[in-house]
């Protein structure tokens, strides 16, 4: 079998996934044991550090360290923001953004010394300066940097697999333009790997979770665990999902309609300033304050562009340390430590922060994330209660505080899912997609298949559902949701009550709405203990609680049919909506497929 690779190529971190022996995708670690590989390259003298090893160089060797280059791909110099404080600056006089770094070239090869002889040699001792490396500079364009970085990822995967992977799928943010995708593709080609597809990050998450594929998702144990309801036991065939991807530098939210595993984009949103950096800054501020309090050394972090060299250096040091603190906060329940030697003026910092304290600090950021989520969902003309699941991606969504905050925004039956490690899910999804693409059936070309996904596709505009006369009121049972790519087919089974001889059903077109019920809270039983804080409780109890439930109301009737029941078995209903918009309905009793009752519109 051909070896395929999934690459999550983020702005700050990358991760890689391969298909293991059982045929399931797994995220793999590089030689240093890191699954999250920092997108950083540092030139230090004759050495080049790539990945997590390059990050510490920000402190001493910031001018020769390149970071955050992915988003510059496919842009010209004028289009990008070039005000990096700590990393290598962009070269102003070139069209494609590029960096110049100081390097040391290895010394020129010395002429081989004359064969030794007992006689004193006539030649002068070689000049020691000549064997020193020569200081020089090197200019790298962003595509060059990218392909250099991707080739190290490829090397890691090759080491892991024992053979060079033949093809890969690389993730790119939802907002990447064509030029940027092409630039990424070319960079990967230069690195020596064929890109089957540049996959949207949100799509990679959906593929990774196998959303909409009821059986597979259940088998792999990927279902989320909501507080209530049955969503954790059974995957719905058609649902609305939010993919929330919060990485080191940005937050992106997509609202997607899932129709049995086909993903239609309803709305997209992105916040560039909301990412891990925000949490870093909060922690920096917190620890700097604590440092000042303890040591009486003035330190105000994060510092502005005009800050002193010393401050900038302490910021870089603390940023590296805080990275670790962040991870401990999301991994363990205990307090997370943060220790920096000689943070400023030779004074050390050694302190810790617990989860509660951190959640208090970060509440503002959590709220902003929640707000953005509501905004994006509203732009899809939906209500949060109509969302069936929230999928988390990006290492920052690992914070339990954030997960709790999001869970409170949606109904208790909606799972906030992080069953695949959010920092790995994109790479896993990419690997899975690469597997799907590399095992296409005969007669299918990857280009042809992907070409069908370019541009927009005809989808159902309104839900189509089923109404059994005499059973429901205004509501219908949705068979085909709104936003399902055409043509679409759905089959359902409806049990029949014993002794029924003839059944009738109607097919309706409907609309999704939210039913709002105001429920007066159950009045508290007043006990003696409560007497004291009665005043406080008063305001809370007064407001009636709103309970929102999504419903689908029937609007116009498309058709109706009746069917004779012979053996009292279940009834199957099949509805197909063709590309032209025509609807075909077939109804038959189980085992009597040859005698259906049908109609077409």
């Amino acid at each position: 079998m051909a070896q395929v690779l999934g690459i999550n190529f983020g702005q700050s971190y990358a991760s890689i996934a391969v298909i293991d022996k059982e045929g399931h995708p797994t995220c793999i670690a590089n030689e240093e044991g890191e699954r999250q590989i920092a997108c950083a390259i540092s030139y230090a003298g004759e050495q080049v550090y790539i990945g997590n090893g390059a990050k510490p160089h920000l402190v001493k060797n910031g001018k020769n360290t390149i970071m955050g280059f992915r988003n510059l791909l496919g842009h010209t110099y004028d289009e990008v923001d070039h005000t990096a404080i700590l990393t290598a600056p962009l070269v102003a006089d070139s069209e494609t953004p590029s960096y110049t770094v100081d390097i040391l070239l290895p010394p020129p090869r010395q002429p081989t010394p004359a064969p030794r002889s007992a006689a004193a040699s006539g030649t002068a001792t070689p000049n020691p300066a000549a064997s020193e490396p020569i200081p020089s500079t090197k200019t790298l364009t962003v595509p060059q940097v990218t392909s250099l970085f991707l080739s190290t990822l490829l090397a890691s995967a090759t080491d892991f697999l024992g053979a060079k992977p033949t093809a890969c799928v690389v993730s790119a943010p939802t907002w990447f333009t064509h030029a940027q995708t092409d630039a990424l593709r070319n960079a990967a080609k230069d690195a020596g790997i064929e890109v089957l597809q540049v996959l949207d990050e949100a799509a990679a998450v959906l593929v990774g979770y196998r959303v909409g594929l009821s059986q597979e998702r259940k088998e792999r144990g990927l279902l989320g665990k909501p507080e209530e309801g049955s969503a954790g036991e059974e995957e719905k065939r058609d649902k609305r999902v939010v993919v929330l991807d919060m990485g080191e530098t940005s937050l992106s939210i997509s609202v997607v309609a899932v129709a049995e595993g086909e993903y239609t984009v309803l709305a997209k949103g992105r916040e560039d300033k909301l990412g891990g950096r925000e949490f870093d800054n909060l922690l920096l501020k917190h620890f700097a304050k604590e440092f000042t309090k303890k040591t009486k050394v003035a330190l105000d972090l994060p510092c502005g562009p005009n800050a002193s060299e010393a401050d900038k250096r302490s910021e870089a040091k603390l940023r590296l340390a805080v990275d670790h603190t962040k991870r401990s906060l999301s991994a363990s329940t205990g307090a997370a430590t943060c220790a920096v030697e000689s943070l400023k003026d030779g004074m050390d910092l050694s302190t810790s922060i617990n989860r509660l304290r951190f959640d208090g600090l970060a509440a503002g950021v959590y709220r902003q994330v929640g707000q953005k989520l509501s905004e994006v969902v509203a732009s899809a003309k939906l209500d949060l209660s109509q969302i069936d699941e929230i999928l988390l991606a990006g290492s920052l969504t690992l914070f339990p505080g954030l997960q709790q905050h999001l869970a409170l925004l949606v109904p208790a039956t909606t799972p906030v899912t992080a069953t695949i490690d959010p920092s790995e899910v994109i790479a896993v999804g990419c690997a899975l997609q690469a597997l799907h693409l590399s095992t296409l059936e005969d007669g299918l070309q990857i280009e042809d298949v992907l070409a069908l996904g370019k541009g927009e596709v005809e989808c159902t505009s309104k839900p189509i559902g089923l109404v059994v006369p005499g059973q429901q009121g205004d509501e219908m049972i949705t068979l085909i949701p709104a936003g399902a790519p055409l043509p679409v087919r759905r089959r359902v089974v409806i049990p029949v009550k014993a002794g029924t001889e003839r059944v009738a059903l109607e097919i309706w077109e409907g609309k999704d709405e939210v039913k709002v019920e105001k429920v007066d809270p159950v009045p508290r039983e007043k006990t003696v203990d409560d007497e004291d804080d009665e005043d406080e409780d008063e305001d809370e109890d007064d407001e009636p609680e709103e309970i929102k439930t999504p419903v689908t109301l029937k609007v116009t009737c498309i058709g109706a049919t009746e069917l004779d029941i012979h053996e009292g078995r279940d009834v199957l209903v099949e509805v197909i909506v063709q590309k032209s918009g025509g609807v075909q309905v077939r109804v038959w009793e189980d085992g009597h497929q040859g005698h259906p009752s049908t109609f077409e519109v």
Partner: protein, 458 residues
Amino acid sequence: MASVVTLPITFGAIPSGYSKPTSTSKPSPPISLQVYPAGPSFIASARRQILQRTFAEDDKAVESSRAAAAAAAANGASGDLYPGLGEEQEAPELLASDPKEWKKQDHYAVLGLGNLRYKANDEQIRIAHRRKVLRHHPDKKAATSGANDDAFFKCIQKAHETLTNSDRRRQFDSVDWNIEDEVPDLKKIPADQFCEVLGPIFAREARFSRIQPVPGFGGSDASKKEVEGFYDFWYNFDSWRSFEWHDKEVNEGSDSRDDKRFTEKKNKSERTRRKKEDNTRLRTLIDEVLALDPRIKRIKADEKAARDAKKKGGVAGGPAKPLTPAEKKAAEEKRKAEEAAKAAEEKKNSESSKADREAAKKAKEAARKNLKKWKKSIATVITSSNYFQPAGASASPAIIEKQLGELDVLCELLEPEAVKDLKEQIEKAGSGEPAKAALVAKVNELGEKAEGKFTEFA
């Protein structure tokens, strides 16, 4: 495949008084949305679209491909590849073989590949070995019969070791005594069975060829080209057959280097001798076969018949019958001969005309030499007749120049012969008007070429 969901409702009887809704309408028109080109469902939908299948057709195709995959998986899992291979009961004398006598052991028979021999592929060897080991492992024997006998197991291991190493396997195949090099007496083979008998023999010899595939012996109606190709190949046969297997063991125990070298040298010379013998054997075989091959005789006869037919005059030779390759060849040759004759003819023609041309050229050359002389004599006539001026009037220099100039032009335009002709005419006319008339006549003969160039002699 369509997944089926059971709805959380049940059908009851139709409520009394229910009638179908009367007002029905078409569903709303579709809208355009972006889809993510990802996931198996997208690929399935793309497949339906590209291969233009309906849902039902696609279901069928998916089901059949799934069934095929399941069948293949079941096949692979149960290991039913090469059923019965290596599972037959060994003959008692084979079981009793001594692992120390491995040079005399039939490795194929030990692994149960006696019927395949050199045709056995690596996969078959691997599987046969695995099955044999399962049955003859010493641990298993100790458990069942309590005997501590691993002799046959050692034989199996040795056979596997030999047959999985390509060099060793070739050495063994080279000397495989179960395949005889024997050839029946060629002279006793009836001509109509010649190909049937020799086909398998050459197929057997072909296993030693470095160049694969080897052309087959072919049937008795093989074309001249096939037969020639076959003998060409076998006269240039490149064999990998070698005779290391018969080498005498170098006595490891002895320290004497000379002893070792002596044995090695002997082995080497023995190997070359055997190889030479084998090459000669094959060469004689081919020589004999070629000499007796009825096909060669047939081809020669055909060719002769074709030649004869040609001699007799082609068509008269016989009624229209399909051309045999030999006849075709004869016809070809005839055509070639004709073409050659034609070419010779043409050459000859061209040669004769060449001689003509050269003579003409020479004449022309001579004429050109005389041209000046003739021109001068014409000019003399013109001068003597006072440039055709009326008597008494002297010719002006302009007229003289013009007339001489026109004479030059005329001589240039005329062929040297015509100039000679003109000169003779003028000399005949003597002088005066008749001479001028002759000149004018010549100018008029030139016609168009002379137009506008002559004023004096027009």
